[in-house]
């Protein structure tokens, strides 16, 4: 299945699937941080995979922090939480109740905090999809990548061979002033067979 061959009904369905999953993930993030989470409408795209990192990562020129979990069970693929290093630092500060200077080096506790956030968001996303699709889904132990944009893109190319579709949802924690204090992206990258399973399960032709 090529994403260019997806009909508008299929894309609309996949967007709604991502919306439901991301909604649960946003709720989980809201509970973790104690803050209101603003969520974008999921962007469901089929892109050459080497273009994907630049389309979803915040281009602040710094390092990229990504938490990848492999989806196991009735579907296969990955979920990836992507943050700029600055946003990952803000996430750690919010969850560890402290303020630290900006920097792209993370100690063990901070790395664990970022990974567990990715794990919880992936779990919430997959729990929602499992309920919607009547499937059993389980995230793997999360992997953390802290890399330059080039390193992130290279990792992406190595790991997403064959993946043709990405559902990206942007999360943001706004301040009362409207300024965004934390921004990140959750990606769902089903493999081609899983894409077919999702659409067949929902009887979308």
């Amino acid at each position: 299945m090529q994403t260019t061959a997806l009909t508008s009904d299929q894309l609309d369905t996949l967007r709604e699937v991502a919306n439901i999953g991301a909604g649960h993930a946003a709720t989980a993030l809201s509970h973790m941080t104690g803050r209101h989470i603003r969520m974008s409408i999921p962007l469901v795209v089929g892109l050459p995979t080497d273009q994907l990192p630049a389309s979803v990562a915040e281009g602040d020129g710094g390092r990229i922090v990504a938490v990848r979990t492999h989806i196991r069970g009735d579907l296969a693929g990955d979920t990836v939480l992507t943050l700029s290093a600055a946003n990952a630092r803000r996430l750690c500060d919010a969850l560890l109740f402290r303020t630290t200077p900006d920097g792209d080096q993370f100690d063990d506790l901070e790395r664990s905090t970022i990974m567990e956030t990715g794990n919880i968001l992936a779990g919430a996303y997959l729990n929602a999809l499992a309920a919607l699709l009547h499937l059993v889904l389980l995230p793997s132990v999360p992997e953390l990548l802290v890399a330059s944009m080039e390193g992130y893109a290279a990792s992406w190319r190595r790991r997403t061979n064959g993946l043709a579709l990405c559902a990206a949802t942007e999360f943001a924690i706004p301040e009362e002033s409207g300024d965004v204090v934390l921004r990140g992206t959750l990606l769902h990258l089903p493999d081609v067979a899983s894409l077919r399973t999702i659409l067949d399960t929902l009887a979308v032709r």
Binding site: A28, H31, L96, L109, S112, T113, A122, G123, N127, L138
Partner: protein, 123 residues
């Protein structure tokens, strides 16, 4: 003071759970970051309570619960996990878990689950 063993591959989550339970008078006697380590630590420490993640390296939490319950059916284990699908709840309970909690959770929710677990198999 009840003793607790916290099993989670995320140090952050072990810290959070430990802080909450510490505030309620529990003593954290050990931590484990994998399934095999959870089983080994349980039988070395014999805690009053165990919190167990499901997705962990080497051996998942449900398999670890089975191994613990096989040798000590009185173990009181609360599952704390990001995966809350019916199948995982059912498998955890069948394995012997006394309560099931989906992350993220509030301290009151954790303590409610802990109370339910401790109410079983009084020691």
């Amino acid at each position: 003071m009840p003793s607790v063993l916290i099993c989670d591959d995320a140090r952050f989550m072990r810290t959070v759970i430990g802080q909450v339970l510490g505030q309620y008078g529990f003593t954290v006697v050990g931590e484990a970051d994998s399934g095999p380590r959870a089983v080994e630590r349980y039988f070395a420490l014999r805690p009053d309570l165990v919190t167990m993640d499901i997705v962990m390296p080497e051996l998942d939490g449900i398999a670890a619960i089975r191994q613990i319950m096989e040798r000590d059916p009185t173990a009181r284990i609360v599952v704390c996990t990001a995966v809350g699908q019916d199948k995982h709840v059912a498998e955890s309970v069948a394995a012997g878990a006394k309560a099931f909690l989906v992350k993220p959770f509030k301290p009151a929710q954790l303590m409610d689950a802990v109370d339910r677990a401790l109410a079983t198999n009084p020691r």
